[in-house]
Each structure stands twice: as structure tokens, then as C-alpha cells.
Amino acid sequence: MTAVTLPSLAVGAELPPLVVEPLSRATLALYAGASGDHVPLHIDTDAARKAGMPDVFGHGMLSAAWLGRLLTRWVPQERIRSLELRFVGIMHLYNEAHCTGRVVEHIELDGRRAARVQIHLHNQYGEPKVAGEAVISID
């Protein structure tokens, strides 16, 4: 085992951003199968149109998984104490997920220091899709 070097958790520190390739139907199909979420809105264009949508669109939890990757690439997963996400926009086909985050505050949680991190996912046009917050153990 190699020693894990923790990144800076100072207030204002930014997470290394994660950019994901444009959302394709193939990704939606694979995510549906892999996640067990077979809701037809995400994989069946006919069903999506019946619901008044122009086409299939991304699972909120697929965007959530990318934000999870943003965190686990930054700190060891054991340090993630909580993750909260608000799905604020539909992730349409060919949207490219840009995941970013920043430490905004140090707090105390169960008697231990933790960093409150704001995280965001927006598409290549800057339109917000997911806004959220994670709490990361400092020590």
C-alpha cells in the first residue's frame, strides 16, 4: 500500500474538474442496465414523447454518479460523510457534463472537523443540471 496524500481541504480549494463525454443513447442504455433503473423515459424515445419530452434524457442518478466520481478522484471514499444533490435541470442528449466543486466552509460533525464542499454539474453551455453539497472528513 502506498501512503495516500490528501489534497488541500482549505476553504476556497477547488476540486480537479471532471468533464464527461457528450451524453449518448448508448450511455443511457448501459446505465439503465447497470443501475437497475429501467424507467422508460430514459431509454425509450416513444415513451419520452408520450410524456411530452422531445426525446430520452439522462437519469438524475447518472449525473449523480459523475459527481460521485468527482469526489472519489479527489479524496479517499471513506472520507465522504454525506452527499446531497438537487436535480435542477434535464440532462439532454449530447449534453456534456462539467463537474466542479469547491470547499466553502469547515464545520464540526460528531466532534470531528469536516469540510463542506459545494458541487455543481452543468452542461457545455453553462446551464445548471445538478447542484449539491458533500461533507468530507478532515481528520
Partner: protein
């Protein structure tokens, strides 16, 4: 309109964290290195942060029957919010118990939308609390369409 009588209802499920399915998930979300990592005998993969949500739906013939059972049309739902509170890691090979409860059903915009709040506690085979999941599902009641209730 969903009846508030469903508040307090539980749904319980037991799930095996299968290594192959977990690799498939990691690959689908683009985490290719972990997805195709060679594992030594006895080595396990850690369940990534959002996969607990998926495990509740995987290997279930009707994972959303708690919604359809309330009369919800799945074409008119949106996932509004999701929260995870983590207490202990979960690994491939674990057996996890999911205890879901409908916490609240709230009416918005004069009934044009309803918010369904559910909470799921996840425990492992040793009885340890792994995580608590809190979800808000938004239901745009099609019966209200055309009444000016734009979501």
C-alpha cells in the same frame, strides 16, 4: 392525486452486491480503471457513493411498485433530490438489507405536483448501518394538466 394514507409504509429488500454487476456499473459511469481492475483472490471492490441507490432497484421484478402501487404513472415522475449519509463502507460480496419508508407526501402548486419523500436505511450482514438514503420524487399529476398547473 396520491393519498397520504401511504405515509409510513415500509418496503424491505435484501441485496447481494455482485462483483460483475458492480463492474458493469463502474464501466457505465466511465470509471473504467476500477471497472476492469484485476483483483487478487479475496480482494473486493468498494461500492461507489451512489450505487446504494441502484442496489435498491437491481434484481427486483418491479422495483418501483411502491410508486405504481400508489397510482403513480411512471411517465410523469422526476427525481427532485437525493441525499446519502454514509456510516460504513460496503463492498462486493456484502449482503445488504434495505428498509425503505414513505416519510411524507406533500402537495405543491395546488395539487399539480406532489412531492413523495422516502428514506431508506441500509445495513450490512453484520447488522452495521452502512448508509441512510433520502429521496424526493416529484409527481406531476396528469389529471391536473390543462388546468394551468405548469410544472
Amino acid at each position: 392525486m396520491i393519498s397520504r394514507e401511504h405515509i409510513g409504509r415500509h418496503r424491505r429488500a435484501t441485496r447481494q452486491v455482485e462483483l460483475g454487476q458492480l463492474r458493469f456499473f463502474l464501466s457505465a459511469i466511465g470509471e473504467k480503471e476500477a471497472a476492469f481492475a484485476a483483483l487478487a483472490p479475496g480482494q473486493r471492490l468498494q461500492v461507489p457513493p451512489t450505487y446504494l441507490f441502484c442496489l435498491e432497484m437491481i434484481d427486483d421484478p418491479d422495483p418501483l411498485d411502491w410508486l405504481t402501487g400508489m397510482g403513480v404513472n411512471l411517465l410523469h415522475i422526476l427525481h427532485g433530490q437525493q441525499r446519502f449519509d454514509y456510516h460504513a463502507p460496503a463492498w462486493s460480496g456484502d449482503t445488504l438489507e434495505f428498509d425503505m419508508c414513505i416519510e411524507d407526501i406533500q402537495e405543491k402548486k395546488g395539487g399539480a405536483m406532489q412531492f413523495i419523500l422516502k428514506k431508506t436505511e441500509v445495513r450490512n450482514q453484520h447488522g452495521a448501518l452502512v448508509a441512510t438514503l433520502s429521496s424526493t420524487v416529484i409527481y406531476r399529476d396528469p389529471a391536473h394538466q390543462g388546468k394551468g398547473g405548469k410544472a
